[in-house]
């Protein structure tokens, strides 16, 4: 027997092309989530919840049960599922317009109740599917179709750091932020997703992994420039790392 592993498609992903743009990181994130689902052996009891946004069609790519939410409401749907079927493994997959703007109420209260589901929060600092409008996470000065002169913090405030905001709640939770723009970051993101799902399976706490992502199409950049801008600008404001663990929260 030859040593090592064969690189192959995870069972939790379907064998089909995606609709995502060149240079978009959704594909990498989908793969990481699918790998973790395979590794934990829970595909047969997993329910994913698709957001409104570019990832609304995520159910075409994942190979497990899925529900499709209204804009921002995925955490409420996940709450409904986990309360009546705690044996199911539930994750929401949400972008920054979905989660940090219209769905801020739902995510804060689900986190604060300590709902036992996992949120994969894809933050690319812009609305993707609707065509590049300003998001709550858009950087100061960043030009979007609804902030054509750059985000003016004096008018619309500073970008929201969702992970830190949720970590400020007293309820124990696992909250981490990672990115997938370079191979060195991908392994860390995968580890964070694995931890998040594991906490859920242990019925321990709410878990959220924010993944700082790219949107070359709506940023008006090449994929390479987008990676560079993410690393220099976004990661400076949205630093990667574990922001809260249930162990630390319980020790307080």
């Amino acid at each position: 027997m030859a040593k090592g592993k064969t690189f192959k498609r995870p069972e939790a992903l379907r064998d089909c092309p995606t609709h995502y743009c060149p240079g978009c990181t959704h594909g990498v994130i989908h793969r990481l989530v699918a790998e973790v689902i395979d590794e934990l052996g829970v595909r047969g009891r997993t329910v994913g919840i698709a957001p409104v946004g570019c990832a609304v069609l995520a159910y075409n790519y994942f190979n497990c049960d899925f529900q499709e939410a209204a804009h921002g409401r995925a955490p409420a749907m996940a709450t409904g599922i986990k309360r009546v079927r705690p044996d199911l493994m539930v994750f929401t997959y949400q972008g920054d317009g979905d989660l940090a703007s219209i769905g801020m109420g739902e995510i804060v209260h689900a986190a604060n109740r300590g709902e036992k589901f996992t949120t994969i929060f894809v933050n690319n600092a812009i609305y993707g599917m609707t065509g590049g409008q300003m998001a709550p996470t858009t950087m100061p000065g960043q030009r979007t179709s609804t902030s054509p002169f750059g985000r003016d913090a004096a008018q619309v405030g500073m970008p929201i750091r969702v992970a830190e905001l949720l970590a400020s709640l007293q309820t124990p939770a696992y909250i981490a932020r990672q990115t997938v723009i370079k191979p060195k970051y991908i392994a860390r993101a995968r580890k964070a997703i694995h931890k998040a799902f594991s906490y859920q399976l242990a019925n321990r706490c709410f878990s959220l992994v924010e993944i700082v992502s790219t949107c070359p199409t709506n940023w008006g950049m090449t994929p390479l420039d987008a990676v560079e801008w993410t690393e220099k600008t976004l990661l400076a404001y949205y630093p990667p790392g574990e922001i809260k663990t249930p162990e630390a929260a319980e020790e307080r």
């Binding site: 595909r43 529900q67 499709e68 409420a76 709450t79 409904g80 009546v84 199911l88 109420g105 209260h109």
Partner: protein, 357 residues
């Protein structure tokens, strides 16, 4: 089992449990908060799920999530709360998930008031949310009927894979009446493995289930809407319910009235009979599907001169009465809102006014 004296709101909560639904999500709002207060104590006794959500919007999606994974689930609210839930109700109807919503109506529009009203007739029967969907709407006129309709609602919701609404009013919720929970109305939940997201392994399948409402292809969206329409047509054929009152005599006036208001009309009809005036009533028990044929046939009786829709609102159901009567007789409206239920004397006065014309 004998009857016990219960407040309407509490009977509604108990009826759901007796029907086999032990999952409840809600947000407090007057005049129906007693349902949540009752179930917060009662559901833990039966191993059920009680959760107070952060808003009616969130609650409607908790209902959606729970229903979409195949479990029986319900919520209760009152008018402004139902407005907030209407977004979720549109999605649930579009996704063809069974769920039960109870609206204990209060006066509107806006914050309105907290007293009984029937001002949400349009919202319930014509679609409070966006798009072409319908709810199966049941309108109880007593605590007993409210309990029975709640018990029946779960199997109706499953039969049609559609949300069912119980449209009561503050009086039904707040008054106490003797109530029994007929065991034969409790039906076991149907198997939902062919569509529910309950985990592939749990149903021994290799095929994922998907609950969704997005159809970007125009032909597919049209086909989806035709599927929904066929279902609503089937409801029109199979689920119409109404109660006739004093229709066997030669009446001059036909009243159409539902819920609490119909009870006042019944007293008015009895009093008028004692004075030698014959008035009949059709009481719709389903508001959608509407008992169009029953209203039309009752209006067509040779002795009938005029049809009067009596409602605790500014004239909503009267449009369905007109639609049913199809111009065969004049159709008038009498009503009041704000929380004061019209008295039998006021209804009698309205009838006498019509007969004097």
């Amino acid at each position: 089992m004998g009857k016990i004296l219960m407040k309407g709101n509490e009977a509604i909560g108990e009826a759901a449990i007796r029907a086999g639904c032990t999952n409840y999500f809600a947000y407090p709002i007057t005049p129906q908060s007693e349902v949540a207060e009752y179930l917060a104590r009662r559901l833990p006794e039966v191993g059920g799920v009680f959760l107070q959500g952060e808003s009616e919007v969130a609650v409607s999606y908790m209902i959606f999530g729970a229903s979409a994974c195949g479990e029986r689930v319900f919520t209760t609210s009152s008018s402004p709360g139902i407005s907030l839930m209407s977004e979720g109700i549109s999605y649930i109807a579009a996704a063809q998930c069974p769920a039960v919503f109870v609206n204990i109506m209060r006066g509107g529009p806006g914050l309105g008031g907290i007293l009984p009203s029937q001002g949400d007739y349009f919202q319930a029967t014509k679609g409070g949310g966006h798009g072409d969907y319908r709810l199966l709407v049941l309108a109880p006129a007593s605590v007993q009927e409210a309990a029975e309709m709640v018990m029946q609602a779960f199997s109706l919701a499953e039969k049609y894979r559609n949300p069912v609404m119980i449209l009561g009013d503050g009086l039904i919720g707040q008054m106490m009446e003797p109530v029994a929970f007929p065991e034969h109305l409790a039906t076991p939940p149907v198997n939902k493995d062919d569509w529910a997201t309950n985990g592939m392994a749990n149903r021994g399948s290799q095929r994922p289930n998907l609950v969704k409402t997005l159809y970007l292809d125009p032909e597919q969206l049209n086909a989806h809407n035709l599927t929904l329409r066929a279902k609503y047509q089937r409801m029109r054929q199979e689920e119409v319910r109404f109660e006739p009152y004093n229709t066997e005599v030669d009446y001059q006036v036909l009243i159409v009235s539902f819920g609490t208001m119909s009870r006042v009309c019944r007293t008015a009809i009895d009093n008028l009979k004692a004075q030698g005036r014959e008035v009949a009533m059709i009481r719709p028990q389903t508001l959608f599907p509407y008992p169009e044929a029953a209203v039309r046939e009752a209006a067509a009786k040779a002795s009938c001169r005029v049809v009067l829709s009596v409602e605790m609102n500014m004239g909503q159901m009267v449009e369905d009465v007109e639609r049913s009567v199809r111009g065969q007789r004049p159709v008038e409206w009498f009503g009041k809102c704000g929380g004061e239920v019209p008295t039998p004397e006021e209804v009698m006065e309205a009838v006498r006014g019509l007969l004097a014309r």
